[in-house]
């Protein structure tokens, strides 16, 4: 009798909502267990479709979910903690956070994906579609089909269709499988390729069709890879350009060999750090601290440059080799001063949100945002330098002093002031390079040393005194380096480039964009 009643109640419980609720409660204890238990529970929660699962899993993802000493799972709700099973407030004493590892995170992504496929937020739906794609499972097919039926945003649709194809590939419907292979092949994405390669071994009967699809993807990827290599080269080139622009002024225009140039770059990076720390307390300003750093770094390093020029370098005009040795000493001092002031450890310079992650250019070419911004920044700085030299009074005076100091002086130009300003300008550019480098490299006292020789090579290769040469030099060195890298490795590529430049300079001692004519002779 009791058995009969039990059966009836079980049947009743099996009615959908009840069954789901039961699955929800049943999955909870696992969350207090080891990582394997947690992952299993998460999967069950994701499959449950229970409305309470979503806030719970989100809390878990954000590390807010607590477990009590007795194994009850506690969900934070404002300041209170609620028992996840009963929804009643619970005692928080002795509770500790449920910890995550990669396995749990992976399960979470799939579970959340399934639950969020119909989320009202398009960004969440897109992320969910990507997550479901990764956690491909035949169980997702109906979910995806339902979601697709309602979806209107093309980009999300594409992603959902991919996810559906990937899920169908591990399903049992042979017809759908064949179709999925073709659709995955047409997508041209790296992830689809991975899915196909994985499926190849599991489905020997479809090997030919899969190979065809993989080959289609490979063709699309080859073009994209070439474009990405080009981008990497331009990105490296823009870093070189930024590092070398200041030298193009101080060395190219004034003929001063400033071995402390790298240290000015480093100072610029530290200025970025200081500005960031100053903005830290002001939430609306914090994401823009990097923008503020640009003028700040320029001013700081320009001031240091002016000081260096007026205090030391001007006594050594006409003796470039002595300047070289002296500025080497200055570089040592600057490095150690920063080390003592800020500590030898790296300093953390955050990337603002708009500089993080990857974006897709037309043609699905993936480029990292920070690199893209640095290329843009490099070109803007180059444009500003060009404008400063060609369009401003200062630029005119600078060119006059460089061409004929004596005559410029007789025309009333204060050549000493122009020298100081020119040097300060070049140093300020180094500081701006430091702002960019703080986004890709260490902010440490040694930051500048890695760039000094490359910068000199860029200036000499491009042609001393030519901004166009510096641009072309930097970009071509960057691209050639990246073209060689996959074959020769990072080190040899660099060695080859260095040797090539040395040989090139033997052929054309004045560089790519040589100043011609009698002026260049003297």
């Amino acid at each position: 009798m009791t058995r009969f009643i039990l059966r009836i109640s079980l049947l009743l419980l099996l009615a959908l909502p009840a069954r789901a609720q039961d699955a929800f409660t049943a999955a909870l204890p696992g969350l207090a267990g080891g990582f394997g238990d947690i992952a299993a529970s998460v999967e069950r929660l994701g499959a449950s479709g229970d409305p309470r699962a979503l806030p719970l899993l989100r809390a878990l993802q954000e590390g807010r979910l607590q477990k009590a000493g007795d194994g009850r799972i506690l969900l934070p709700d404002g300041a209170r903690l609620l028992d996840a099973a009963t929804g009643q407030p619970a005692e928080a004493a002795g509770a500790e956070a449920v910890r995550l590892n990669n396995r749990v995170r992976q399960a979470l992504r799939g579970a959340l994906g399934r639950l969020q496929l119909v989320s009202p937020d398009p960004a969440e739906r897109l992320a969910a579609a990507e997550a479901v794609f990764r956690s491909r499972s035949a169980e997702n097919i109906p979910l995806l089909q339902a979601a697709l039926a309602r979806e209107t945003v093309p980009r999300i649709r594409t992603q959902m269709e991919l996810a559906l194809a990937a899920s169908q590939l591990v399903g049992s419907d042979a017809e759908a499988k064949r179709d999925a292979v073709a659709r995955l092949g047409a997508s041209g994405s790296v992830e689809a390729r991975a899915v196909l390669i994985e499926a190849r071994n599991a489905n020997p009967e479809m090997a030919t069709a899969i190979e065809v699809s993989i080959a289609t993807i490979e063709r699309a990827l080859a073009i994209r890879r070439a474009a990405e290599t080009l981008f990497q080269g331009l990105s490296l080139g823009s870093v070189l350009l930024l590092a070398a622009l200041g030298l193009a002024i101080t060395f190219g225009v004034m003929g001063v060999i400033n071995m402390a140039h790298g240290e000015f770059v480093m100072l610029g990076a530290y200025a970025t750090f200081v500005v960031q720390e100053a903005c830290r307390g002001i939430p609306w300003l914090a994401p823009w601290s990097l923008v503020l750093s640009v003028p700040a770094a320029f001013l700081v390093t320009a001031a240091c440059g002016a000081l260096l020029e007026r205090g030391l370098i001007r006594h050594l005009y006409g003796r470039p080799l002595e300047t070289l040795l002296m500025t080497f000493g200055v570089g040592m001092i600057l490095q150690q001063a920063v080390r003592l002031a800020f500590g030898a450890q790296n300093r953390e310079v955050l990337s603002p949100p708009w500089m993080q992650g990857t974006i897709l250019l037309p043609g699905d070419i993936a480029v990292t945002q920070n690199r893209l911004w640095i290329i843009v920044f490099g070109l803007i700085v180059l444009g500003l330098v060009f404008a400063a030299i060609r369009l401003t009074r200062f630029g005119l005076e600078m060119r006059a002093v460089v061409q004929n100091r004596r005559i410029a002086a007789t025309m009333g130009i204060r050549t000493g002031r122009v020298d100081a300003m020119t040097f300060a300008f070049g140093s300020g550019l180094a500081g701006m390079a430091g702002v960019a480098l703080s986004q890709i490299d260490n902010v440490s006292p040694n930051l500048g040393t890695g760039y000094i020789i490359d910068s000199f090579m860029v200036v000499v290769f491009g042609g001393v005194g030519s901004l166009a040469g510096t641009l072309v030099g930097a970009m071509s060195l960057g691209v050639v380096n990246k073209l060689l890298e996959p074959y020769a490795g990072a080190v040899l590529a660099k060695v080859f480039v260095l040797v090539a430049i040395m040989l090139f300079i033997q052929r054309r001692p004045k560089g790519l964009f040589a100043l011609k004519g009698r002026a260049a002779e003297s």
Binding site: G329, M332, I333, I453, F456, P509
Partner: protein, 364 residues
């Protein structure tokens, strides 16, 4: 540009004084290993540390001499002389590695330890012959010499001078540094060579070996100094000074400037290579850090501090800067870079003729 540089030929009486001072200095140096044999409580006792560190400084002085010959006289400011020094050092290092034989950690009869654990099966061809001392000595001279010949020929033929030459030679040593850092080069990568056992049958960790290396270095310094003096006081020396001050004018006199520069550059590289070869067994390690551009610049600064274009100044500079560095890195480990950097600034600004300039009157 360098009108203030002293002429290589001081007047007779002054020259005699300099000679006496130099002979005295050599004798004092020669006494050091002997004083090391005195009982430690003796007033004249010189510690092992002083002997070994002085031996190292002597090789630095030879390097400085080589740089001064090229820079102070011919106006060739190479910022890559550390590369020649390091190449000589690597030649010696390879010899010493070969001599370890089966005493290595893995007990392989021919392969050095690093090759064993990098999975080499046999010795690369460019390691052959380095087990013979004379071959090593030849290579310690020939490899830096050949490199100088090639780089110098290309540069001088294209009339690359002044700062351009400095930048190119700097790139040369930088490229070599990157290349030697690669483990695939077969030179031990970043670790380079170390844990040497013996040289010419002498165990290296003995006082006798230290004294022998000390005297070998001192002898090379004296010979190098005499060779450099002979060159600078010959007509060749005057041609070099002429090239330094007005290169194109020398061409119009019918001198093949490329040949003269090449001669002195190669000779200077060979000297640097030999100095490097003697340096390695005394410090017990050679690694790609020796190629770092900073090292070469520092060596140039020794010459500038001592006073360039004087030979004596180069030696004086190498000793004094290194002594200062050794002392400061112990008494002021956090602040020594300020002192050294400050010294470099001060010397270029206030003592264009270096420490030697303090002792001799200006030429005008």
């Amino acid at each position: 540009m360098s009108a203030s540089i002293a002429s290589p030929a001081p007047a007779g009486a002054a020259r005699l004084t300099i000679r006496l001072v130099l002979i005295g200095a050599v004798l004092v140096l020669a006494l050091l290993p002997l004083l090391n044999r005195l009982p430690p409580d003796s007033a004249l006792y010189v510690s092992d540390f002083i002997v070994s560190i002085t031996g190292k400084w002597i090789t630095y002085a030879i390097l400085a001499l080589a740089i001064d010959l090229a820079w102070g006289y011919a106006g060739i400011l190479s910022l890559g002389h550390g590369a020649f020094f390091a190449l000589g050092g690597y030649a010696m290092g390879m010899h010493l590695m070969r001599l370890i034989g089966p005493r290595g950690v893995y007990g392989h009869p021919t392969l050095p330890d690093f090759m064993v654990f990098l999975g080499y099966k046999e010795l690369p061809w460019y390691w052959l012959g380095f087990d013979h001392f004379p071959f090593m000595v030849l290579m310690a001279m020939a490899v830096p010499g050949m490199l100088a010949l090639v780089v110098g020929y290309l540069a001088f033929r294209s009339r690359i001078t002044g700062v351009y030459l400095s930048i190119i030679t700097q790139a040369m040593t930088y490229a070599l540094m990157l290349a030697f850092f690669r483990n695939d080069m077969g030179f031990g990568g970043n670790n380079g060579f170390t844990d040497f056992k013996e040289l010419l049958g002498m165990p290296l960790n003995t006082d006798a070996a230290r004294a022998a290396l000390f005297y070998a270095s001192l002898a090379l310094l004296v010979v190098a100094f005499l060779v450099c003096t002979r060159i600078t006081q010959s007509k060749l020396g005057r041609v070099l000074v002429a090239i330094r001050d007005a290169e194109s004018r020398v061409r119009f006199l019918g001198y093949d400037v490329t040949q003269h520069k090449l001669f002195v550059f190669v000779l200077s590289a060979v000297l640097a290579g030999l100095a490097g070869a003697l340096y390695v067994p005394q410090v017990g390690i050679i690694n790609p850090g020796e190629f770092s551009p900073g090292n070469s610049i520092e060596a140039v600064i020794w010459v500038a501090v001592g006073g360039r274009g004087t030979l004596v100044g180069a030696v004086l500079g190498a000793f004094s800067v290194n002594a200062l560095k050794t002392w400061l890195t112990t008494v002021a480990p956090d602040l020594w870079l300020f002192a050294l950097g400050g010294l470099f600034v001060a010397v270029t600004l206030f003592l264009p003729r270096g420490l030697i300039g303090l002792f001799s009157k200006a030429p005008k």
